[in-house]
């Protein structure tokens, strides 16, 4: 499959601060690609460089086989962009906003169709200021869809939304993807990345520190299960070393977290070792991208 998006050795410096530090990406046409990382990891800077809104200090960017410097106007016709925060005019209606954005493109989808896509037909005559957070965000995505883009950029599309609004927005993205289009999204929600993305690049401090499909990344932990335990007397990861089916261990907030391949094999041994320390809590869950991030950086995504 051809690359919809490619960047190599991308660097962006603001004075002494390096926001993006030699980042490589390749996104195939038709895939939904996620940049997952905590706030301040350089996701937004990266996306804005890819969107042609920000100049890199160094490195090369190719979008749909073209370069920003030479083909900006043609490229803009083929992209849809939703920025992290855009305050659309308060007192334009949903429909007026979409019509205005539609007028900038030579081709695209009729406004009525986009209203259906983002489930805002009922709200077409409402002023933007009277929309809920989720509706505003769907309108922002709608403004990015009026051009029927080949490539859609979404920067933290569901940050701050309630669960139902998030699911509605996910449906919009999945519907777009089902048409064979390409999506690049950033998020610091692991569940969002797992739900929407074919592949994920985990970004930290301006670098890609892991890349793969969500199952691949989780598998890289060596175990599908995570066991977390807390004890009365301090327990260190070394105290649990060498147990069968335990693939890794690390300290967490109030105890130890272990990645485990087979829960039924590991659990009896873990209990036996931990019992003398006075076990106060034990929980298990399926490993997630959050665990991958913690494993790689020792920090949580939301920190």
């Amino acid at each position: 499959m051809s690359a919809a998006l490619r960047c190599e050795k991308l660097v962006k410096k603001y004075g002494d601060v390096t926001a993006v530090d030699g980042l490589d990406l390749e996104v195939s046409a038709g895939e939904c690609f996620g940049l997952l990382g905590p706030n301040g990891a350089g996701k937004t800077t990266t996306v804005e460089i890819l969107e042609g809104l920000n100049e890199p200090t160094a490195g090369s960017v190719e979008v749909l086989g073209r370069r920003w410097r030479s083909d900006e106007r043609a490229l803009r016709q083929r992209l849809g962009v939703s920025l992290q925060e855009t305050h659309l005019p308060d007192r334009l209606t949903v429909e007026e906003n979409l019509r205005m954005f539609r007028s900038f493109y030579e081709r695209g989808r009729p406004v009525d169709e986009v209203l259906d896509l983002v489930e805002l037909r009922d709200k077409r005559s409402s002023w933007t200021e009277r929309l809920s957070g989720g509706q505003k965000q769907r309108l922002a995505v709608g403004c990015a869809l009026v051009s029927d883009p080949e490539l859609l950029f979404l920067d933290e599309p569901t940050t701050g939304l309630d669960p139902q609004s998030r699911r509605q927005l996910w449906d919009v993205v999945l519907g777009f993807k089902a048409r064979g289009r390409t999506v690049l999204l950033t998020t610091h929600y692991m569940d969002e990345a797992e739900r929407l993305c074919d592949r994920v690049a985990v970004v930290d401090k301006g670098k890609v520190i892991a890349l793969g499909t969500p199952p691949e990344l989780i598998a890289s932990l060596g175990g599908q299960q995570v066991v977390e335990l807390a004890t009365e007397r301090p327990l260190s990861p070394e105290d649990l070393a060498g147990l069968a089916s335990v693939r890794s261990s690390r300290r967490n907030a109030d105890g130890v977290a272990l990645t485990v391949e087979q829960l039924h094999v590991a659990l009896p041994a873990i209990l036996a070792r931990a019992d003398p320390f006075g076990l106060t809590r034990l929980s298990t869950h399926h490993a997630t991208l959050e665990d991958v991030f913690v494993h790689l950086t020792g920090r949580h995504l939301r920190e």
Partner: protein
């Protein structure tokens, strides 16, 4: 959801310039505060100032007399008001300024008055004329009222100029910076929208607004204060258009770099306040010393006000306002190009 393949025909939308202008007009008229400051405020200002500085009939001169005969003789003049007092009371009234003149019965008839008080000298002259009707050569009074000589006639063109300035500066400068702080400019930059068309939409909006602002103020001036337009209405429109464009350009320029609305508010006031005072909105620029006159003359608002007054009050033609028009057109062109160069889009 299935959708037909996109095609230009299925979706040809309005022209971007028109859609952008439409959005500007909608946003303006949905903001009651903006509508008031643009349309209501200048009218209220003209009412208040028109009332405060209206031309009143002359105050009558008050004369104290000591005999009924004198009183009936002086009553022939309508602008003299007489009071019949005895002599000590009359002297007291003069001393305290309650009357302008005391006339004592003669012979000879005596006028008591303070020559240092203009109203006393006037009262004396009027009383004298009433007591000694003019002999030959016969004279006749011909009152002359110069058209456009009242304060309100001076004020209305000044208010039009002020209105064109502040609507341009706030309506463009402030609005654009607000769009920048709300990241809307950046969002628009992520579309293929033409930057020049974006800026043009503001200029078109100002030109369209002129068609509302100008008839409103001129119509109001005519209906309420009978302020005439002596010159050509078309020339007045052309001058106003150039003024609107000049201030649209300056509005774009102050908005081109500012990152927040506080900065742009400061810049707008910095540009406008000197012109409010020194460009002849409320009083003539002639009151400033000669040395600063060359500076005042090249201020855009001075040029605009001078040209508006020349056309409205004096009925000046194209040739006599050509200089001011050239200055306004030049301001518009230079500021627009500079704004396009300097503009911070991100």
């Amino acid at each position: 959801m299935t959708a037909p393949p996109s095609s230009p025909s299925s979706a040809r939308a309005g022209s971007p310039l028109w859609e952008l202008t439409l959005a500007r007009l909608r946003l303006f008229f949905r903001e009651p505060g903006a509508v008031f400051w643009t349309f209501g405020f200048p009218l209220l200002l003209s009412i208040a100032l028109g009332i405060a500085f209206r031309n009143r009939p002359a105050d009558p001169s008050v004369v104290a007399v000591v005999s009924p005969e004198l009183q009936s003789a002086l009553a022939k003049d309508a602008v003299l008001r007489t009071r019949l007092l005895d002599e000590p009371a009359a002297r007291e009234a003069l001393r305290t300024g309650k009357v302008d003149l005391v006339v004592l019965a003669g012979p000879p008839i005596a006028y008591l008055f303070d020559p240092a008080r203009p109203e006393s000298r006037l009262a004396r002259a009027l009383a004298d004329a009433a007591l000694h009707p003019a002999g030959p050569p016969a004279t006749v009074d011909k009152p002359v009222v110069e058209p456009g000589s009242r304060y309100i006639d001076f004020l209305i063109p000044g208010l039009i100029g002020m209105q064109l300035m502040s609507a341009g500066m706030w309506g463009i400068g402030y609005v654009i910076v607000e769009m920048r702080t709300k990241k809307l400019l950046k969002r628009l930059m992520a579309t293929p929208m033409s930057r020049a068309q974006f800026l043009w939409s503001f200029v078109v909006m100002r030109a369209l607004f002129l068609l509302l602002e100008l008839p409103l103020l001129i119509g109001f001036g005519w209906i309420v204060f009978k302020v005439p337009v002596v010159g050509s209405m078309l020339l007045l429109l052309a001058v106003s258009l150039l003024g609107a464009l000049a201030f649209a350009g300056i509005g774009l320029l102050v908005a081109s770099r500012a990152r927040n609305t506080q900065t742009v508010s400061g810049l707008i006031n910095l540009v406008m306040l000197p012109m409010f005072v020194a460009s002849g909105v409320f009083f003539s620029t002639a009151r400033f010393p000669d040395t600063v006159q060359p500076v005042l003359r090249v201020l855009p608002l001075t040029a605009l006000n001078d040209a508006l007054r020349a056309v409205m009050i004096e009925g000046a033609g194209m040739a006599s306002v050509a200089g001011q028009c050239a200055l306004l057109a030049g301001t518009a062109a230079v500021t627009f190009v500079a704004a396009l160069r300097l503009f911070r889009w991100g």
